[in-house]
């Protein structure tokens, strides 16, 4: 089916699809206002779980992958209590630390084969399967975004305090977002293990996280499509830059990041940016807003007029009080 692609292109395509799952994992957390930088730690859990179960216990691949997802989610649930007490940049650092701790654990245990990693993991993930999986994932993401949960998560990101006052259980939304994020990362890690057939602790380092973090931020937290498109655009771009030599790749990548942030500092799917574009198009909305503004203008005019007529002399409080019932009686 993919014969028309070169092996290298198929490899890149597969890698990108798996990276996309990781990007989405970061995005899901961002959308609820969580700067979660632990996905690579959870990807390691997913990868090692399936690798160990499939190679040593001879589980079927599918069950191994599912176990990887569950393993990552369970671990996220266990660490959520301390980690989710943090906010903002502190949460980011705390989650980096958590991811590192997971990786240390893996490289210090015997059953994970320490720093050497695991090889001869069966290669059982095809490009077509990945593609179908990604499409299913996108459909789920879009449904979830429009769902009630998606709306509540966005509310928590925008303003926790207010969201809480409207009956939203902030802690639960943050917890679920964190766990879903970890589960997706676990999925990505498991898929990666079954595709490359070899894993070792060092492939889950901080350096690997940076590009994923960049895609999620440049894409913005307004819509999952933003980070995904940024990820794919940069991959495609890299294919072309590659011909120019590796130093140029870094130069162009660096310049691109800078230029994008200068043009859209809040990311490409900043809801305000998108809404503004839409507002400019909609005549009806503009008219309604203008009418509201005009009403206010007339009200102010009356107000100033009244103040000026009384010559700046304030009305006595008692007269106001005596007038008040008539206001109440007015329709």
């Amino acid at each position: 089916m993919f014969n028309w692609l070169s092996p290298l292109q198929v490899f890149t395509l597969d890698t990108t699809m798996i990276t996309t799952v990781l990007v989405v994992a970061v995005h899901i957390a961002f959308r609820a206002g969580l700067f979660n930088l632990a996905p690579l730690g959870f990807a390691a859990i997913g990868g090692y779980t399936t690798a160990l179960l499939v190679t040593k216990q001879h589980w079927p691949t599918l069950l191994g992958i599912i176990a990887g997802i569950i393993g990552a989610a369970v671990l996220a649930g266990l660490f959520a209590l301390p980690v989710l007490r943090l906010r903002g940049i502190y949460l980011a650092l705390g989650t980096v630390a958590l991811a590192q701790a997971i990786v240390i654990g893996i490289s210090n245990f015997d059953f994970t084969n320490g720093t050497l990693g695991i090889d001869r993991i069966p290669n059982r993930v095809t490009t077509l399967e990945l593609m179908i999986l990604l499409i299913v994932l996108f459909v789920l993401l879009e449904l979830e975004r429009r769902s009630h949960f998606g709306r509540a998560a966005a509310a928590v990101r925008l303003d926790e305090r207010t969201a809480s006052g409207l009956g939203i259980n902030i802690r639960r939304i943050r917890l679920y977002s964190f766990i879903i994020s970890a589960a997706l990362a676990g999925l990505a890690g498991a898929l990666e293990a079954h595709r490359t057939t070899v894993i070792s602790p060092e492939q889950y380092g901080f350096g690997v996280l940076i590009p994923i973090f960049v895609y999620a931020l440049v894409g913005g937290d307004g819509h999952w499509l933003g980070p995904v498109l940024v990820c794919w655009a940069i991959v495609v771009l890299r294919q072309y830059i590659d011909f120019a030599g590796s130093a140029w790749e870094h130069y162009i990548y660096g310049v691109l990041l800078i230029v994008m942030m200068m043009l859209a500092p809040s990311g490409l799917t900043d809801p305000k940016l998108l809404r503004k574009l839409r507002f400019r198009k909609s005549r009806r909305l503009r008219l309604a807003a203008e009418r509201a503004a005009a009403d206010e203008a007339a009200a102010v005019a009356a107000e100033v007029e009244r103040a000026a007529r009384s010559g700046g002399d304030p009305v006595d409080a008692s007269t106001i009080i005596s007038q008040a019932p008539s206001i109440a009686a007015a329709p």
Partner: protein, 290 residues
């Protein structure tokens, strides 16, 4: 005891590192990922100067000036427009990642991705025997330098007019401008100073290891952030204490846990500190400056 000394000497390099970061991250609130490359640029400039046969002091000054200018120009060219747009915090982070990509590629192409020997001649590298223990003399110099720099920065920020202006502008750029303070130059000069401090750390580290490569400081970046979190945001004293503590933890972790993930053990310490005391050891309020 020897472990303790080793820990302190590792910590003294972390402390020096932390001070450079604390000025821009802790005080101005900009998290820069280009700090590692700034260190390397400074060390590289020093290396070129030293290779031409100039004395150590000239090499160090060349390194400080080059890295300072790099950092200051980065602020003027990139952060000034971002500030004018009132860009969110993370936009700055992404831009610094872009800068670090570019400068890393530049350093790599200049050094052809080789690890270069760093001339140690003229640096106080011979170990010192103190109370029967080996004390690396360079670490002692680093520690003393850190403390001096800390005292100077603290005095400047809290006791002088220009330092007060830095804090004014860091708190609110608009208000500072309204009072007649040229915020653009205040930010740029802070970045210049931060760049020189990065270079100082870079040169010390290169001299103590005797080598330099374009990627030799990459791993250290997270550590610098860790130092700040441990010490507390915006606290210069915290950067030193945080650095020393982190050095000790790393060394003891290496002895009792595993040498491979020394940095990772440090990160674990950070997680614990964050959860137990989110404002760090000397921080004011964790929530106000995020």
């Amino acid at each position: 005891m020897q472990q303790f000394i080793n820990g302190l000497s590792l910590g003294s390099s972390y402390a020096l590192l932390g001070i450079g970061v604390t000025l821009v991250w802790g005080v101005l609130g900009i998290l820069t990922f280009a700090h590692a490359q700034t260190m390397t640029i400074g060390a590289y400039a020093a290396l070129i100067t030293l290779d031409r046969g100039y004395p150590v002091i000239v090499g160090v000054i060349a390194g400080l000036v080059v890295a300072g200018l790099f950092s200051g120009l980065m602020d003027l060219a990139l952060f000034t427009p971002l500030r004018r747009k009132r860009a969110p915090e993370f936009a700055f982070v992404i831009v610094t990642i872009g800068v670090s990509q570019i400068s890393d590629a530049f350093e790599a192409s200049r050094t052809r991705s080789q690890t270069l020997p760093f001339p140690r001649k003229g640096f106080p590298v011979e170990p010192l025997t103190l109370l029967g223990r080996n004390v690396p003399r360079l670490s002692l110099v680093m520690l003393v330098t850190s403390v001096i720099v800390m005292a100077m920065l603290g005095y400047w920020l809290h006791r002088t007019k220009s330092g007060t202006a830095v804090r004014a502008v860091a708190y609110s750029r608009d208000t500072g401008e309204l009072l007649g303070i040229n915020s653009k130059w205040i930010f740029a000069s802070c970045f210049f100073i931060s760049g020189t401090l990065a270079a100082l750390a870079g040169i010390f580290l290169a001299a103590s290891s005797g080598q330099l490569s374009h990627s030799s400081n990459d791993a250290i970046l997270l550590l610098a952030f860790a130092v700040i979190v441990l010490g507390g945001m915006g606290s210069i004293r915290g950067a030193i204490v945080g650095g020393l503590l982190l050095g000790l933890v790393s060394v003891y972790a290496t002895v009792y846990v595993s040498s491979v993930f020394r940095e990772a053990v440090a990160m674990l310490t950070i997680l614990v500190v964050l959860v137990v005391r989110p404002s760090g050891l000397f921080g004011e309020k964790a929530t106000t400056r995020v």
